[in-house]
Subunit: 365 residues, 4 copies
């Protein structure tokens, strides 16, 4: 109930603080018999890792994962899989000046009032560093879903600050530090350089997609697949909006065009984003999220301290000028975790998923 | 795990189908000793009720609620509160022609493939009629939150199809059938009349607000207050997008302006929408949702039947040409249920909420 | 979290009070496509029903169940099954004299202090009448388990007060009001008549058995099958002890005899009671429970009132002089609910149960 | 749902295998602001530790615990507390001969059939070694309950094999390796020496007691305090029976004596064992558990292998000839975890526990 477990049947319990000795998670409910090694997980962690370009935080963390349990002779046993990542590059002294002040846009103020105590080192528990165990758990889910259904998860940036990023191809996403689906990212490099020089930060929009998800996943009434996707995405640090399929554009749609027509060869469109009545249609899951600008900036901000007095806050330390840049692999992982959980929930009540049924997939929008 | 229970500590288990004998819910976890009668609940049900204007479905349901348990001599006892609403105006024959076809944009296709069986009468379990028990439970939560913290919940329409609705005052919301915050709704009346005549439907955008929510509600890491709000809202029938605070506009913001400054007199702005790090700040909770156009329209739609053959679907029966019109009281109820659950979760771990702390509230944006 | 839901994947949420308008439950998670009607449930309710012999309470309740949802054209749809039982023979005046006193051995004292309010009519929520919805839900579980695995559930009385009841045959159980596995129950009739005349009550021991449960159900580490059986049984009103297999006799056993030997033809014994390491072995589940004497007796008892003053309590009204007499069908239902829940939990993580494996079953002990 | 999390609001997720790299747990929901260090936890771990007398396994494990998260400057922060214990004295070769055979009385057979894969090293996940993290988490719960209510938890052995152990005083329990409440344990030393020489094992009965538990903890209907105690205790390795208060002796009791009379000065007796209607009375919680003889014995046992063929199993390795000997600190921890969870559940729904009310405690039975 204290909010650190994600999922119900594929349950990921996350622990750790940004500058504590270690972070990690325990995955309970993984099906037995699946080959699994640290290498399966490390690949995704490396995509999220800090320090990989000049546009992200320069904190140097290898994020090397150790599997502590749940795997025997290279296969999952069905018992809890504990994953451990030691923190190695903490510099707590960077944060000492803000221990008694509340950084605007940060969780400082709310943690302080909720718990009456706050670990100020690097944001403590509220740091985006805690997405690493989520990514690690997501890698396990992805592997099972790929093996079981051929499902695949991917994400790309579709807007950086006020710059919309056109969609060219998924091919480009892994070739640039922005996870942008375009060949040429020079303008985004320049944009970020200018922003960093100005001591400022910006937001981003990320598109997340799953292919190969079978029809039938998701639960009425409240735990709809899209509801749980929204929960996952809005729970990601700095996210302020979530859309499924046509999203907010649906408001101005007409019923005569919005509802995706069906033919024996498949859906004609995918305004639904792969979900109808909260249950997957077999089409691609299409999700879009809005990420706010990083709150940790070196420009001075007006604030108060724990005694209620006026103060000015400058956040030193090492930070991402656009947290959205590293959000793509995290959003993928979250989507995989949601689908994984619902795959097991479906199996519990309805038995194994049947082979995919005819209606093939339309392209998005 | 089958998705019909909302919340954890204030847990609402919803049951029923659109055309079955009854719908209702069981609320488990309500604090004892609170005065409660059917009248407290009926008021909100009446705001959601069908048949109250020509712009909504003409199905005539009194939606009279009966309290079956959990109340003794007018007070809650701490034991489950079961609420029963008998269905009285089912006309199942209206739907017989669609039992073997899948209506585009509806849950027909997904329910059929998930369960291998489907109750086609009025959409069965996937009908928006099932929001009535949610509204009833929300009324109980609202009463407790008002009494405990002075918290209030309200919602209004901010866009109807492509028409943006300016915000004039909360005063107007209860004076028109659109829950619009404006004095003059003639253009929306005309718009809906034209739409209905065209046999079409449209979407809507709804703003939901909570005032008086104390600082400190919400759980890291995954069950953030905003994450659970997103879960609740996206789980509402036809919702395709959810925003907290500045929402998607955050993407183009700069860190130097987005993070809400704090002064001894309060926050200067509320881009956060009342949530920082997943925990309430004490400012107003500000949520915005996108509702797609009703899928049940009388215009013919291209589809397939259960055998995979081409067919054409015309949805007769009685339907809302814009489901968003009746969404306001439902969205309020959902927000209240989320806040209620987190109030109890907070109390479990941290003890009773302390009196509100200084930082007063800025107006939104 | 407020304790009124049994199970996780086959989740039964129970509501109602002894003298309120109705009692019932909502079953969430029932697999779809199973034939189900009121008659399937009524049979078990009738076995538990009051007023069927002079040895049980004379309250006259037909306990007629109504299915409110989750069934369409005679089959379960996978959506919540709500079951309603109206109370018809409440006589609240019988209890008015005890509203301010605490009956020894009853929940009066603890409910009062927990909630600060108590429904005194017939014990309110703490009445054994609330086992009726449990029995109803158990009937649904039994039907699925019988159909899926051929599993069967039965229970009998093995001790009445200080009288041990020998085991002759399961055949006899349904032929006498005691659920005793013997042909001649005259001595138990006489025993109960004397007890009733003396204004006293006695305890009972019940044996519960499940056959046909497949190997592999149950979860390490904490939610072992036997742990959840113990939870279910100890949660039944008046139960003070639970044994699995050899139970307390195990203490004096030697390892060289206790561990059930295995041969290619099966286990030689069943000291384990059908559970090893918390997981079913495929042998019969064997459970034994101790039920304390009814606390509602007409003999005067020393007690206090809500103000802490001395008082004397005589419990009038209509009560069972041995609540254990009607416990057999309830204990069966509870065992079925536990097995059902674990069947679905198993299916979620490991897929469908494989056909039963060789080791056949030894008889108990 | 996979059974490795204990509790709901004070939720302990346990991981690890007997011979894997590490074991541990994550505690989610601990109230913030409580002083906590490794030393607080180590004391209880040392009481459970192997190798402390010749009557227990000679495996040499320091069981040194490391706090990985959730504590800042010596105080709990309200975020997850991860506890890590490295395994140091694994000797997997001892077990290689049993990887393909099923040891009678062990979980080998059931794990194999449940998961299709089994970690045979030292019993893998089914080893009693996994009680160490439970003890560690229990130490945290004990500390909070002591500080909050003055609650205390203790356990002692009341029967060793066929030898009943009289109760002399709690003082003696920590002075002998049996946790026996007697001054002179020579006869138990002799008994165990003979048993070990014979290559056999025996069972034990343990009494567990909590004092200072406030009135009002426990939830109707299914999650009664005693139901959750039974769940906890029956989930402990090798436990075959659980009693609350008078337990199985209740069967032969009369209502006129069993129900504990109340006076303004307190309860006259404690047949209830501190629980009425599933809710604590404020009296001592009294629990008794039956532990079967260790299944790992060096005497040859008749069994089968994974192919269904006859075989003979001799369990070498290092084992406890009576697992009950080390059960006392584990049972204490489990009782503390149950009470802790219910304390938070109570606080969620009903607010903080009121100061203890008059009725003082009678001694047990």
């Amino acid at each position: 109930m204290s909010g650190n477990t994600f999922g119900t049947l594929f349950a990921v319990t996350n622990f750790g603080e940004s500058h504590g000795p270690a972070i990690g998670c325990v995955i309970d409910g993984c099906p037995p018999g699946m080959p699994l090694s640290e290498a399966d997980i490390q690949a995704d962690l490396d995509r999220r890792r800090p320090g990989t370009s000049r546009h992200v935080t320069q904190r140097n963390e290898p994020d090397a994962v150790e599997i502590l349990s749940g795997v025997y002779e290279g296969k999952t046993t069905g018992t809890p899989i504990a994953l451990l990542i030691r923190n190695t590059d903490q510099r707590s002294k960077d944060y000492s000046n803000i221990a008694e002040s509340f950084r605007p846009g940060h969780a400082d103020y709310t943690y302080w009032h909720k718990y009456g105590i706050r670990d100020p080192r690097g944001g403590g528990r509220s740091s985006a560093r805690l997405t690493a165990p989520t990514v690690a758990a997501g890698a396990v889910a992805k592997k099972w879903l790929a093996q079981q259904y051929g499902a695949q998860f991917r994400a790309c940036m579709t807007q950086l600050g006020e710059l919309a990023i056109p969609f060219e191809s998924w091919e480009h996403v892994r070739s640039n530090p922005f996870f942008a689906p375009v060949a040429d990212v020079q303008q985004y490099e320049d944009y970020m350089d200018a922003l960093r020089k100005a001591g400022d930060s910006c937001g981003a929009r990320i598109r997340v997609q799953a292919t190969g998800v079978p029809v039938g996943l998701g639960e009425p009434l409240y735990d709809k697949l899209d509801a749980d996707i929204a929960h996952a995405m809005m729970g990601l640090n700095a996210v302020k909006g979530v859309e499924i399929g046509a999203g907010f554009a649906s408001v101005a749609h007409r019923g005569t065009m919005h509802g995706d027509s069906m033919t024996p060869q498949g859906f004609r469109t995918n305004n639904a984003g792969g979900v109808l009545g909260g249950i997957s249609t077999g089409q691609d899951l299409e999700v879009s999220i809005a990420i706010k600008p990083t709150s940790s900036i070196i420009s001075p901000r007006e604030s108060i301290d724990v005694h209620g007095n006026s103060t000015e806050v400058i956040t030193k330390g090492r930070h991402d000028p656009c947290v959205g840049i590293r959000a793509a692999p995290i959003a993928e992982a979250l989507l995989a975790l949601v689908v994984m959980d619902h795959a097991l929930r479906h199996r519990a009540q309805c038995g194994d998923v049947v082979p995919p049924v005819p209606p093939i997939q339309a392209s998005f929008l």
